[in-house]
């Protein structure tokens, strides 16, 4: 009953309401009041509230997971006191951050200083719009989904530059400058590696990209793009870790050099916003990696469990695997130097990404897939 093709979350909610015979009643009620549009607005708001709640809970879980993974690698326990195995630690951290004094430095540009964390957070949230969490679990299947994601990712460096500039702190400014330099050099290989995937699918829509990866290659291995273009995957992964600003590429904060980089002067909830944005971004980027290279939510169909549920589970498993990799990497390697990173970006990754694009063109022309 829920298998309308090309549905998004809005249509899914409508069809669920319809199947339990509530939708017509609601529609009649709103129609009689002459406010048919209000129902639509309410459904969209519910949709966004679910997404927002999901992101918040995910972020809280990720901060806990990060600490546990670090602890695992470093042969210690990590948080253990608040809640079972320290699961409530993020809640306590949140309470602590809310209770903190909100300090704005004397020489800071008050408006921009206050605005920057919100811009960063909103940009991180917007990436979730065209992200397919599962079969028909997508807020909006944009025709230009991939382009949209890359474009939105370019907003956060602007906000970081705002934050760094407005803080009136030399470390913040240097962190912000680094973030911009890093982003400019990494968006290009990131986009080029993603374009190789677009060459295969012929569509920028994330749903189309996922659908193109269902089925198998040679009958055994799943038809994920990682198996078709492993080079593209590696380039995309490196570029997205640089994009996320995590070790080994966390120049914008680089604690040991710039104290805390662009958010040196932030405290309390404004600091928490950066923190939330960072982990929301981590999840979003990992989700994009899964969508582009690991077949998104595709996976074996299990009996009569609704495909919406199984696909969501497949998506989460794959995404958390990528997240785990990013966390593992953070605990294993030191940080490279900013100029070494730029060298890597311009002199190695851009040419390789172009080569990968050429390869994708050959594969498509030869009709392999």
């Amino acid at each position: 009953m829920w298998t309308g093709d090309g549905m998004n979350a809005y249509e899914l909610i409508v069809s669920i309401l319809y199947s339990i015979d509530v939708y017509d009643l609601l529609l009649d009620a709103f129609r009689s009041a002459g406010m048919e549009y209000a129902l639509r607005v309410i459904i969209v708001l519910v949709e966004l509230a679910v997404l927002f709640g999901f992101v918040l809970i995910t972020v809280m879980f990720l901060t806990w997971m990060e600490r546990k993974v670090v602890a695992m690698v470093q042969s210690r326990y990590g948080p253990m006191v608040t809640g079972p195995r320290g699961l409530l630690q993020p809640v306590m951290d949140g309470i602590k951050l809310i209770g903190k004094e909100d300090i704005i430095p004397a020489g800071a540009d008050r408006w921009i200083f206050t605005l920057a964390p919100f811009v960063v957070f909103v940009a991180a949230l917007l990436v979730f719009i065209p992200l397919p969490f599962g079969y028909s679990l997508i807020i909006s299947d944009l025709k230009v989904g991939l382009l949209y994601i890359i474009a939105i990712s370019a907003v956060s460096p602007v906000a970081i530059l705002l934050a760094g500039w407005a803080s009136n702190n030399k470390y913040s400014l240097m962190g912000a400058m680094r973030a911009v330099a890093q982003d400019i050099s990494y968006t290009i290989p990131l986009a080029l590696a993603a374009i190789a995937v677009v060459v295969f699918t012929g569509s920028l829509s994330t749903v189309d990209i996922v659908n193109a990866q269902s089925g198998t290659l040679f009958g055994i291995i799943p038809k994920w793009f990682i198996f078709i273009t492993p080079l593209g995957f590696i380039l995309f992964l490196i570029a997205s870790i640089a994009e996320m600003g995590r070790i080994p590429f966390d120049f914008q904060e680089s604690e040991q050099e710039l104290v805390a980089g662009f958010f040196t002067e932030y405290s309390g909830m404004k600091f928490a916003m950066f923190f939330l944005a960072e982990y929301a971004h981590l999840f979003a980027v990992s989700g994009i990696v899964v969508t582009l290279f690991f077949g998104g939510w595709t996976g074996p169909v299990l009996g009569n469990i609704p495909v919406q549920i199984t696909s969501l589970i497949y998506f989460l498993i794959k995404t958390y695997a990528v997240i785990f990799f990013a966390m593992w990497l953070r605990d294993t390697v030191p940080r490279v130097r900013i100029d070494q990173l730029l060298n890597l970006g311009w002199k190695i990754m851009v040419p390789l990404a172009l080569l990968n694009l050429l390869f994708a063109g050959f594969v498509v022309t030869a009709g392999v897939i």
Partner: protein
């Protein structure tokens, strides 16, 4: 476009200055054009305090110099006092002292390894380093009850003899540690990012390093085989078999490798000392000039008095501490307190070479080079 140089005050409160140290940097974007090291934020007047204390009372103050490795500090001062007063030390005491110092060298290099990698952004090695250090600290705790500030080595010997079961535990530690050093090498030395950050960074030539008065592993990283344990042997070092580790490159990586090799050499020394530990007393049994005004014998070391008066004179005695040459210049005027104490600390002399290493490089290189110099601010400022 017109650009302006930026004056950046790095420290005294900064995550990577290992304490309260300040760098005044003149930056051209990310590039350091000029660097000035500003120290003195941790000055406690230790040398002046020494003039107010009796010879024995000053020993705990030496613990607070290089608090990562306090045993060599104890020893360097005690050695100076013993030379001044002509105190004989039993052989067993010397063995225990060397054992403590070499164990402390391992501890120091573990902390060095961890904090260097932490400075480079890898957060895991410091946990591994501290895990092993904990075992060594437990050994120290067995010896004297303290984990960092020991006050263990005293004129005439050591405060207490080895406790029961110490040598087996030490052997256990050494066996474990030898494997761990191999682990570190495997985990760290082959890491491309680590090599990118360390090779050809912070290069200092042998000549320049000598001119700056650098000593210890930092100097040996420039290819100068300068080790006081060999050049001016003291204690039981002439009888021990060990190599003086050095690398000719003079870059951060060489300084790091010297310390990794030294950990192995220290373990080798520890093994020799533990296997050949002679029987006997752990402190002298001779009586030395008891101060006439008190005449109270010490309760801890029943023969050696708490207060004693060395004959007037002066002595400079130096040892190879984990960070370099540690020297104590002690002047006696024939009273119960020293007339003057001057400390030549390795961290201070090594630190001043930093500007010549990093001008023209970037902030991350400053952090890396500074990490390989391995300073402790308690030792720099005294």
């Amino acid at each position: 476009m017109e650009t302006e140089q930026l004056l950046l005050n790095m420290g005294p409160v900064h995550p990577s200055t290992h304490g309260v140290l300040r760098f005044k940097l003149r930056m051209d974007g990310e590039i350091i054009r000029d660097c000035q090291v500003v120290m003195g934020y941790l000055h406690r007047g230790t040398e002046k305090l020494g003039e107010m204390k009796t010879y024995l009372q000053f020993v705990p103050y030496t613990d607070r110099l290089d608090y990562i490795a306090a045993m060599p500090n104890n020893y360097a001062y005690v050695k100076a006092v013993e030379e001044l007063a002509g105190i004989e030390v039993p052989e067993r005491a010397e063995f225990i002292r060397v054992l403590c110092m070499e164990l402390n060298r391992v501890v120091n290099h573990l902390v060095f390894l961890g904090s260097l990698l932490l400075d480079l952004g890898a957060s895991t090695p410091i946990m591994y380093g501290f895990r092993e250090r904990e075992k060594a600290l437990q050994l120290f705790e067995m010896l004297c009850g303290a984990r960092m500030t020991f006050n263990y080595i005293k004129p005439g010997g050591v405060r207490e003899d080895l406790p029961e079961g110490f040598i087996p535990k030490l052997n256990e530690f050494m066996k474990d540690m030898e494997k761990r050093v191999d682990d570190y090498e495997q985990l760290i030395n082959g890491n491309e990012i680590f090599l990118l950050r360390m090779k050809n960074i912070g290069v200092i030539s042998a000549e320049e390093a000598v001119n700056y008065g650098m000593t210890g592993p930092s100097l040996r990283g420039s290819g100068v085989k300068y080790d006081i344990r060999r050049l001016e042997p003291y204690s039981i070092y002439p009888d021990l078999d060990f190599k003086v580790c050095s690398y000719p490159e003079g870059d951060s990586y060489a300084r790091y490798m010297v310390r990794i090799d030294e950990m192995r050499e220290s373990l080798h020394i520890l093994r020799q000392v533990a296997d050949n530990m002679p029987p006997g007393k752990a402190a002298t049994t001779q009586r030395y000039g008891i101060a006439p005004e008190t005449g109270i014998p010490s309760s801890v070391m029943s023969y050696f008095p708490r207060i004693f008066t060395p004959p007037p004179g002066e002595v400079y005695s130096r040892i190879e501490a984990p960070k370099g040459e540690l020297g104590f210049y002690v002047v006696s005027d024939g009273t119960t307190k020293p007339y003057r104490i001057k400390i030549r600390s390795p961290s201070f002399c090594n630190l001043v070479a930093i500007p010549s290493m990093i001008v023209g490089l970037k902030i991350p290189d400053l952090i890396a080079a500074f990490g390989t110099i391995d300073v402790v601010l308690g030792d720099v400022d005294r």
